[in-house]
């Protein structure tokens, strides 16, 4: 197992490097540069201002030199300096990462747990009213644009009803500590996490339901019935465990990708996370920040792929790991 994980980690480093180079070239292909954007924000600037900025950022160097400098740094986990935010990228990401991990983590766990439960409930009584309602809801969530849900949710729960804060990470200036702070953050988390989670919940629900129905047609389920096991035990012990295998694969794929979805959610809910950081950095051509976020999120994807494989092995004894 250790050998497997080490092997995969070595491989991951190479993939990460490839991604770095690819992203580097991609981002530098975009028109404009951070100096121009910053000068633009200042409303006025002269040639010297731009040249000074570019020299300061190292943007006056040939592209391959910039790439080489970046790679050299990245290998030593130095993600460079944010031009616009004027601080080290690693620090910037470090500041924002916890918020994103909290948001996506809660959304992910919630959607996975609720999605699986709903999927099991729906599949237990295929074709019943309950199944129809759950399936229809899931389909609706699945078909609704995420940002639209976000807007509507803010409108209803924050503006009209005033139950929940519509944006932000915590009540600014309230100075909560301890439990009060936790509760405060939790309150702020409700809307963004459920918005983000809704879509994924729909996916897991549909997947679980389909998978449950498929597994329930397999022979060993008939064996279980022939043993005289009750429906509940069969569902839980025999069908669910087998049906979860594809769900695990999917969840693993999506756990890494969930950053992508967080861009919209974080923007609408002013959540100070990494998705928003990335979106702003793209608009500002803050190269190092974009690369840094991509770097981290690619690392996340690879990490989750690894975790998925390990979980898979634990759940399914038939699988042997290969690097």
């Amino acid at each position: 197992m250790i050998r497997f994980i080490l092997g995969r980690l070595v491989k991951a480093v190479f993939i990460l490097l490839a991604i770095l180079v690819f992203n580097f070239l991609l981002i530098h292909a975009a028109p404009g540069d951070p100096a121009a954007v910053m000068a633009g924000e200042a409303g006025a600037a002269d040639e010297k201002f731009l040249t000074d900025l570019r020299a300061r950022f190292g943007l006056d160097q040939p592209l391959y030199v910039q790439l080489w400098i970046y790679i050299k740094g990245a290998v030593q986990l130095d993600l460079g300096y944010s031009f616009r935010q004027q601080m080290p990228v690693a620090e910037l990401i470090g500041d924002r990462l916890p918020a994103t991990l909290l948001l996506t983590g809660v959304a992910f766990v919630l959607s996975l747990v609720l999605g699986v439960i709903a999927g099991v409930a729906a599949s237990a009584r295929q074709g019943s009213w309950g199944d129809t309602i759950i399936s229809t809801l899931a389909l609706l969530f699945y078909a609704t644009p995420l940002f639209w849900v976000a807007l509507m949710a803010t409108l209803v729960f924050s503006v009209w009803l005033g139950w929940l804060p519509g944006f932000g990470y915590s009540t600014i200036g309230a100075g909560y500590t301890g439990m009060a702070h936790v509760l405060d953050v939790a309150k702020h988390l409700v809307l963004p996490a459920s918005t983000l989670g809704l879509f994924f919940m729909a996916i897991y629900m549909r997947m679980t339901r389909a998978s449950m129905l498929e597994v329930s047609r397999l022979d060993f389920v008939k064996t279980a019935r022939a043993k005289g096991l009750t429906r509940g035990v069969i569902q839980r012990r025999h069908i669910l465990r087998n049906a979860l295998l594809p769900v695990i694969t999917l969840a693993g794929l999506q756990a890494g990708q969930i950053f992508g979805g967080a861009i919209l959610t974080e923007t609408v809910f002013a959540w100070p996370g990494i998705g928003r950081l990335m979106f702003e950095a793209i608009n500002q051509r803050d190269y190092n920040v974009i690369l840094g976020v991509f770097y981290i999120s690619a690392a996340m994807v690879l990490l989750f792929n690894l975790i998925t494989d390990v979980v898979y092995v634990i759940v399914d004894p038939r699988i042997r790991l290969t690097t």
Partner: protein, 521 residues
């Protein structure tokens, strides 16, 4: 002739000029001010970065020698009094006594010299051009600064505001690399509020400067600047009471009227007099058929600016009369007619060299209002028979395209900084038309006559002479239509009515919340 100005008199003048201040009772101390900031500033070090949000927060931390009322008349800030020699070449400032920086170090004439001569000359592109007029700076004593100019430069008295000439602590920056100095993260100035904390992506927290040199000020204990990236969320933030001040541009114009209707909500479009933001479309005269004045005139008459003002800007602002905004010195409203007249536009177009070419409109990527505006203009032009296409871009792409002159019509808006020599001539001088910059004469307007007049007018010592010269300039430029002037933008500041004095100078919220107090009654 020396013109000493009494501070008390100036304050009195201010309170008379500001009806808001006049009707309110005794200022109260205490309370927290919650303000929206958009976008998140890259840095708070006003000497290095001068974009809008930095100025807004920096204006609380840093101060300059003067400030300016709604009519752009100077008042003392760090300078107690000042005088301008009769030949217009010597400016003498007497500094206020007993002023200290936030770290306790006294503020002296050495700081002024350092800021103006070293720091800003190095890092502030606009200041760099202004300082070219300065021959030398003298500091006869700790509280006196003398600027000797090479020749008279009328606008010079207008540059002493925090966004242009912030006073920077010499003891912290001297001998260091300004751009990478650690202190940039914890800015120190002389202003009414001190920097406390910046949670990136969430908020910036400033606290009252207890040692502020003005008795009893500031009134407010602390200021939170809230970073909320989405315009709709910012509106919600105001509605749910999370923030109390929405500076201009922080909510979409479509939302203004709705928010305005809320209880205890006041709105003002004052506080932009110094900047005088004027919007227009660059016309790329390097491209055919836009080099034809008839085509440009046709476009000018085809664009329905009143519709834009009412539908897009919520009725705020003014329809522009030409290259000057009405708050800029030497503005003249009596310029040739450029009003909306589609019939005339069609006639002009028919007489022109336009042959059905596709005209590319580059919108300004600053939010929905600007996008809608580009769409409306596109529709206006298609109604007089022009074929148009909107070119999509983000901020970086926009800068690039403007710099490369890769457009036909391009939306923009620029500040005028109170004086045509500071904010207008740069966009029309033939010598300032080289590609590579988005802020020079992008349209490539070449008129030696106006060039000459611009140069002369800037150096005239007598305001009346200047006025006459600028009148001719305005008439000439308007008849040439090098740009399609749109609106003098009205950026509304929205705030709770019990917050007093949020806007009381020509810089509005950018001038610090020195005089703000919260009425709890």
């Amino acid at each position: 002739m020396l013109k000493p100005i009494n501070l008390a008199a100036a304050l009195l003048a201010l309170s008379l000029a500001s009806p808001l201040a006049a009707q309110d009772g005794e200022p109260q101390s205490g309370g927290t001010l919650n303000v929206v900031i958009q976008p998140e500033p890259p840095s708070l070090m006003l000497g290095l970065v001068q974009n809008g949000p930095t100025q807004m927060v920096g204006g609380d931390i840093y101060e300059s020698l003067l400030r300016y009322d709604f009519d752009l008349k100077p008042e003392g800030q760090l300078a107690e009094s000042w005088e301008i020699s009769e030949d217009g070449k010597t400016y003498t400032f007497k500094l206020r006594q007993g002023v200290t920086f936030h770290d306790g170090t006294p503020f002296t004439s050495a700081d002024v010299e350092f800021s103006m001569d070293k720091f800003l000359r190095e890092s502030h592109s606009r200041m760099r051009t202004y300082m070219e007029h300065v021959e030398s700076i003298e500091t006869p004593d700790e509280h006196t600064v003398v600027f000797n100019l090479k020749q008279p430069f009328g606008p010079f008295i207008g540059i002493f505001e925090p966004g242009t000439a912030p006073m920077i602590p010499k003891h912290i920056y001297e001998g260091t690399d300004f751009a990478t100095n650690e202190a940039n993260n914890t800015p120190i100035g002389t202003g009414p509020f001190k920097f406390d904390k910046w949670e990136k992506g969430s908020f910036i927290h400033l606290v009252k400067n207890e040692d502020y040199y003005m008795e009893g000020k500031p009134y407010v204990n602390e200021v939170y600047y809230h970073v909320i990236p989405d315009a709709a969320s910012r509106a919600v933030a105001y509605e749910t009471g999370k923030v109390d001040v929405l500076p201009g541009g922080s909510v979409e114009n479509f939302d203004v009227s709705r928010i305005q209707a809320m209880e205890n909500t006041c709105i003002t479009d004052k506080g932009w007099e110094y900047f005088g933001p004027l919007s227009w479309m660059w016309v790329n005269m390097n491209n055919k058929p836009l080099d034809d004045v008839n085509v440009r005139r046709a476009i000018m008459h085809a664009v329905d600016r009143n519709f834009a003002k009412d539908a897009l800007w919520n009725g705020l602002g003014k329809v522009a009369t030409g290259p000057f905004t009405s708050s800029t010195r030497f503005w003249d409203g009596d310029t040739p007619d450029i009003s909306y007249d589609p019939e005339k536009a069609k006639a002009l177009l028919a007489d022109s060299s336009y042959n059905g070419e596709k005209i590319r409109i580059l919108g300004l990527p600053y939010g929905e209002t600007w996008q809608r505006w580009a769409e409306a203009v596109k529709q206006n032009l298609s109604e007089i028979g022009m074929d148009t296409e909107i070119v999509p871009s983000d901020v970086a792409g926009w800068n690039q395209k403007i710099s490369d002159r890769d457009f036909d019509l391009a939306f923009t808006y620029l500040y005028q900084y109170g004086d045509p020599a500071l904010g207008v001539s740069r966009s029309y001088m033939g010598s300032n038309a080289a590609p590579g910059s988005p802020w020079n004469n992008v349209a490539n307007y070449q008129n030696p006559e106006t060039d000459k007049m611009f140069e002369e007018a800037a150096l005239m010592a007598n305001p009346d002479d200047r006025k006459a010269a600028y009148k001719t300039i305005q008439d000439q430029i308007v008849s040439d239509v090098p740009n399609i002037w749109l609106l003098e933008l009205g950026f509304p500041t929205i705030y709770r009515c019990n917050i007093k004095n949020p806007v009381n100078t020509a810089f509005g919220v950018n001038d610090g919340f020195r005089d703000v107090w919260i009425d709890t009654k």
